[in-house]
C-alpha cells in the first residue's frame, strides 16, 4: 500500500502540463533517434543532456525528458530493423531476423504494429517490476558501508564487459582509462591538483558530459565519414511498402504467451549486472525459438519471432533502471548515460535517493508509465511518420548531430576549450571503436571514478590505514566473488555467445539476400 501511495504521489508530480509535454517530446525524439541507424539510445540521450541542462529544467523534468527519450529509442530501434534490415541500435539486432522477412512478405506494417505492442508489453510490465523490486534492493543497499560500495563499483566495472564480451582485457583497459580520466582535477579530499599539467581549465576535472558526447556522438560522425559509399553505407538499402498497420487479433493472441515469457526473461537480464538489453533480446529470441518453433518458421517472418526480442529488450531496458536507481550503479551503456544526467543535476542515485528525493524517483517512474502509453499511441497510428524520418539520408543527418553536440556543450560552459576536449574524445572514440575497445566502461569510469576513490579512501581511513577492510565483511566478500565470476566467466563463454549472436544475424542476412 505504501508503494501505491508513493506511486500516486509520483503521478501527482508527473501530471503537470510541462512534464507531460516533456514526456511527449522525449518519446517522439527518442523514437526518431532509435529508428535512425547510427543513433542509438546512448547517443540520443547523450546529445540531449546538455540541452536539458542549459534549458534550466529542474531535476524531475530533465529526468522525465531523458528517460522518455531512452524508452522511445528502445521502441524506435525496431523500425529500421524491420524495414531496412539494419538495426537502429544493438538490442534491435534480433528483431531483424523475423522482422525483415515479414516486411519482405508484404507485412511490414503488421510487423511494426506487433512489435510496437510487444515493446509496450515489455516496457509496461518491466516498469511494474521496477516499482516492486527497486525498494527491496534499497533495503539491501542501506546495509552498505564505504568498503561495500567500493566492492560494488569494482563489480560494476568487472561485469560491464558482459557475457557477450570478446576480450576482457579491452574492457579492463577501457575502465582504467575512464577511471584515470576521472582523477584529473583537484583532489576532493586533500585539495591538491592532480594530472592538470598546470591547465586551469582542468582544475574542475574533465566534464563527463563532454566525454560522453565526444565519445558517442562525434565518433559516430567519424564512422559515417569512414563508411560513406561502401556497402556498410546505410543510405543505399532498398525501400519497402508498409501494408496494413494494425495487427490482427489472431496474431496478437498467438503472440501473447511469447510476450509474457520474454518480458520476464528480459527483465531479469536487465537487472543483472553486465547483461543489458542486447542480451535480453538475444536470450528471449533463442528461448522462444526453442520453445515454440515447431514448424521451423522462425527466421522466415514468424510474428512470434518479432514479438519475442522486442518484448525482451524493452523489458530489459526497464530492468536496467533498477540497479541504476537503487544502487547508483548502472548495468548498461544507456543507463550509464542516465546516471550522468543525475550526477550533473547534483542528484546522487542510490538508496538515499528514495528517502531524500522521493519526488524525483516516483515522478520518474510515473513518467515512465505515462511515456509508455504515449509511445504505444504514437507508434501504432503514426508509424508512417517515423518511416518517413528514416528516409533522411545520413549526409544531412550526421552534420546536424555534430552541430547539435557542439551547441549543447558550448551552451554549458561557453568555452572553446571544452569543444576541443570533445573533439579529442571524438577522435579517441573512433580509434577505440576500431580497436574493438568498448566505450561504455570509459564513460562509467569517468562517471564513477571519484565516488569509487572516495569510498575506498573513506573505508581505509576509518580502519586506520588497514587495507584488508576492503575484504572485511561477508557482504564485501560476496560482492568480490560475483565480480570475479563476472569477469572470468566471459573469458570462457563470451566468445561463444557473441559468435552465436553474430552468426544468427549473418545466416539470416544470407537467406534473405
Amino acid at each position: 500500500m505504501e508503494l501505491l501511495a508513493s506511486l500516486g504521489d509520483g503521478f501527482a508530480v508527473a501530471l503537470t502540463w510541462q512534464n507531460l509535454g516533456l514526456a511527449l517530446m522525449g518519446c517522439f525524439l527518442g523514437t526518431i533517434m532509435g529508428a535512425l541507424p547510427g543513433l542509438g539510445p546512448s547517443n540520443g540521450v547523450a546529445i540531449l543532456i546538455p540541452l536539458a541542462f542549459t534549458l534550466g529544467l529542474g531535476a524531475t523534468p530533465s529526468l522525465i525528458l531523458l528517460t522518455s527519450v531512452y524508452y522511445g529509442a528502445m521502441y524506435g530501434g525496431r523500425i529500421s530493423s524491420i524495414l531496412l534490415n539494419i538495426p537502429g541500435d544493438e538490442p534491435a539486432m534480433m528483431t531483424c531476423l523475423d522482422g525483415y522477412p515479414m516486411a519482405r512478405n508484404g507485412r511490414a506494417g503488421e510487423a511494426l504494429a506487433l512489435s510496437g505492442v510487444a515493446s509496450f508489453v515489455g516496457a509496461f510490465f518491466a516498469t511494474w517490476g521496477l516499482v516492486l523490486l527497486a525498494p527491496q534492493l534499497v533495503k539491501v543497499a542501506l546495509l552498505f558501508g564505504p568498503a561495500e560500495y567500493f566492492a560494488l563499483f569494482a563489480l560494476a566495472f568487472m561485469t560491464l564487459g558482459g557475457v557477450s564480451s570478446t576480450n576482457q582485457a579491452k574492457s579492463a583497459f577501457a575502465a582504467a582509462l575512464g577511471l584515470g580520466l576521472a582523477m584529473v582535477g583537484v583532489d576532493t579530499q586533500t585539495g591538491v591538483p592532480r594530472f592538470t599539467f598546470g591547465e586551469v581549465h582542468l582544475y574542475d576535472g574533465i566534464d563527463f558530459l563532454v566525454a560522453i558526447v565526444g565519445l558517442f556522438a562525434l565518433s559516430e560522425v567519424f564512422i559515417f565519414l569512414e563508411h560513406r559509399g561502401t556497402d556498410k553505407d546505410a543510405s543505399t538499402a532498398p525501400k519497402l511498402d508498409i501494408g496494413r498497420i494494425t495487427p490482427s487479433w489472431k496474431v496478437l493472441k498467438s503472440c501473447t504467451p511469447t510476450m509474457i515469457r520474454t518480458t520476464i526473461l528480459g527483465f531479469i537480464a536487465g537487472v543483472l549486472p553486465g547483461a543489458g538489453a542486447s542480451l535480453g533480446s538475444f536470450i528471449s529470441y533463442s528461448m522462444e525459438k526453442k520453445l515454440v518453433d515447431r514448424d521451423n518458421t522462425f527466421g522466415t517472418g514468424d510474428p512470434r519471432g518479432v514479438a519475442a526480442p522486442e518484448a525482451g529488450n524493452n523489458a530489459a531496458a526497464g530492468g536496467a533502471l533498477v540497479p541504476m536507481l537503487a544502487l547508483g550503479v548502472p548495468g548498461s551503456g544507456t543507463t550509464a548515460v542516465l546516471l550522468a544526467v543525475l550526477l550533473s543535476l547534483n542528484i546522487t542515485p542510490g538508496p538515499l535517493l528514495f528517502t531524500q528525493n522521493p519526488d524525483v524517483v516516483w515522478g520518474l517512474i510515473a513518467a515512465l508509465f505515462i511515456g509508455n502509453f504515449m509511445l504505444l499511441a504514437m507508434n501504432i497510428p503514426m508509424v508512417g511518420l517515423f518511416v518517413r524520418v528514416l528516409m533522411v539520408p545520413p549526409r544531412i543527418l550526421m552534420p546536424i548531430v555534430a552541430m547539435v553536440s557542439f551547441v549543447g556543450i558550448y551552451g554549458i560552459s561557453g568555452s572553446s576549450f571544452d569543444l576541443m576536449v570533445m573533439i579529442a574524445f571524438g577522435v579517441a572514440g573512433w580509434l577505440l571503436r576500431k580497436l574493438d575497445v568498448p566505450l561504455v566502461p570509459v564513460i562509467l569510469g569517468t562517471l564513477l571514478g571519484n565516488a569509487m576513490e572516495v569510498n575506498m579512501r573513506r573505508a581505509v581511513t576509518i580502519a586506520d590505514g588497514d587495507y584488508s577492510v576492503l575484504f572485511g565483511s561477508w557482504l564485501t566478500l560476496a560482492l568480490w566473488a560475483v565480480a570475479i565470476v563476472g569477469f572470468v566467466l566471459p573469458i570462457f563463454v563470451g566468445g561463444v555467445v557473441k559468435a552465436r549472436m553474430r552468426g544468427a544475424a549473418e545466416r539470416e542476412a544470407a537467406i534473405t539476400d
Binding site: 586533500t190 565519414l225 552534420p399 551552451g411
Partner: protein, 143 residues
C-alpha cells in the same frame, strides 16, 4: 599488429600516468590513503591490460585506406577550426561553414552542401535560440 602497437602505447600511457602521479604534491591535510594510491592502482590495471594486448593481440581490425583516414583527419581539423572560430564569427556563420563541409564530405553535391549547411545552421539557430532561448555564440553581426 594494431593491437601490439595499441598495447605499447597503453603501456607507455600507464607509465606516464604513474610518473605524473608521483609528482602529486602532499597536502597539509591528508587521510590514511593519500591522493596517489588510487591512481597507482588504475595505472597498474591499465599496464596489465596493455601487456595482455602485447602477448595476445586480437585479429587485425579493418583500417580504412589512407584517403579515408585523411578524410577523418580533415573533418577533425574542420571541427577544431570551428571550435576556435565560433566565438569570433558567431554561431550562424561558423556553423553554416562546418555543416556544409561535413555534408559535402558525406556525399552531397557542392550546391546542395551550401544549402544544407545554411539550412542546418538557421534551423538550429531558430529552434535552440529563438524558440528555446539557449544562448549561442554571438558574432560581429549579432548572431
Amino acid at each position: 599488429m594494431s593491437d601490439r602497437i595499441f598495447g605499447g602505447i597503453g603501456l607507455m600511457l600507464s607509465l606516464l600516468y604513474i610518473w605524473r602521479a608521483t609528482l602529486i604534491p602532499d597536502s597539509f591535510m591528508s587521510d590514511a590513503v593519500g591522493p596517489r594510491a588510487f591512481p597507482y592502482g588504475i595505472a597498474a590495471v591499465m599496464a596489465l591490460a596493455s601487456i595482455w594486448f602485447l602477448i595476445k593481440p586480437d585479429p587485425e581490425p579493418e583500417w580504412p585506406r589512407l584517403g579515408r583516414l585523411a578524410e577523418i583527419g580533415f573533418a577533425a581539423l574542420v571541427m577544431i577550426a570551428y571550435a576556435q572560430l565560433l566565438p569570433e564569427l558567431g554561431f550562424v556563420i561558423s556553423t553554416a561553414f562546418a555543416a556544409a563541409y561535413l555534408t559535402w564530405r558525406l556525399g552531397s553535391s557542392p550546391l546542395q552542401s551550401v544549402l544544407i549547411g545554411v539550412g542546418t545552421s538557421l534551423g538550429i539557430y531558430a529552434i535552440f535560440h529563438l524558440v528555446l532561448g539557449l544562448s549561442l555564440a554571438r558574432g560581429p553581426l549579432g548572431f
